[in-house]
Subunit: 227 residues, 2 copies
């Protein structure tokens, strides 16, 4: 899998700033550490389902390596990818007993899972953990708000540029960034079609904003990606 090793590396330094990906020792990341301590590890193949919508939401997940997408489907198959989760990210927060979205592996991945009830109980005892959970949830609220602006009000070009910019940011603003997901995944995240994503990337290249080095690798040229 082209470049996918970048998302599998658990023992090296992750290219992502997502923080503390797979560190088993204490690292100041209370939530991540707690999950690592309390949780059990699981592995999933590419496109394998971590959990489905409507399934009991008994666990909270933390990505150790690889990339996970969370999605919602309409009856006719239309799909919206809410977020891509990278090493260090925690997801699976639900208010009720069942999941309201599904999660699938974008690349082969490893996650740790923790019983939701146990985590909530621990958060009740440990204020620091409770606060870390709260911050994780409200951060996600902020990301979703931002993404709603993108979906509701931005052009295809702006969406793709925002996507590339966030990918670049996660990769410490490297000159060449790595796109672990398919065009279809990108399209379903940005509310576009696969053809529009492809054409837009080609246009961005033509205008010199980026340079495609294979379909899953992009050089963000001397011209920086504007907001």
């Amino acid at each position: 899998m082209l470049n996918s090793h970048l998302y599998e590396a658990a023992d090296g330094v992750s290219p992502y700033v997502a923080g503390n990906a797979a560190a088993p020792e204490m690292s100041g990341d209370v939530l991540g550490d707690t999950l690592a301590m309390m949780g059990s590890a699981m592995s999933f193949e590419r496109n394998e389902e971590l959990f489905a919508e409507e399934e009991p939401a008994d666990y909270v997940y933390k990505v150790v390596s690889g990339v996970v997408r969370t999605c919602k489907f309409l009856e006719d198959g239309r799909r919206q990818i809410g977020e891509f989760h990278f090493p260090g990210d925690v997801f699976g927060f639900e208010p009720c007993a069942n999941h309201t979205f599904s999660a699938e592996a974008v690349t082969p991945c490893r996650v740790v899972i923790v019983k939701r009830a146990a985590l909530m109980a621990a958060a009740g005892r440990d204020a620091e953990l409770g606060s870390a959970l709260w911050i994780a949830a409200t951060r996600e609220l902020g990301r979703l708000h931002e993404h709603m602006v993108l979906l509701g009000r931005k052009s295809a070009r702006e969406r793709v540029m925002a996507f590339l910019a966030s990918a670049a940011e996660r990769q410490c603003d490297a000159a060449v960034i790595d796109i672990p997901m398919s065009r279809q995944d990108i399209a379903d995240h940005l509310g576009l079609t696969i053809e529009t994503v492809s054409r837009t990337m080609t246009q961005l290249q033509e205008t010199g904003a980026i340079s495609l080095e294979g379909s899953r690798r992009v050089r963000v040229g001397p011209v920086r990606l504007a907001a």
Copy 2:
């Protein structure tokens, strides 16, 4: 203001199921009750700003009467309304020191505000309150996920129908529902233009799905709004 009394009435029974709107006594709604007890009341005129993006996020808000919109703006003025908040709704959750979105009064409204630090401290002491906060935040996550599907994947017609359906649901599925916000607000919530919202409503009326009784009042006809 046409029908706006419905959103101002604090002493009568609210037409919304949002729950416990302005009840000053204990009602089983731990979060709402705590806010009512700890908070101070404030009133705002139509279109008045409750808080702006970037402003310090020192308070959490609960709507007592009226309707509030939360929005984000792009530099060129494009606006995305994240949510409309009705009596009983709590909003203003932020992970950091400053607001990442603004809030404005759609109708004249009253809210109670509580110091965020005090609320968080209380949540640390009272597990039930902490849990209520957690549920409120994760519920909102669910609503935003649902709205992202709408923004990313639904047609104008589906968006407007979903909007009307949710308005109807909040009004206990009354036959005639009341729309407190302008077409522009609806458009900015649904990721459409004001003209498309207007045309779509006209079309829904022509196909018999709804019947417009003035622009801020809609009869959801014998034909029910489908999902």
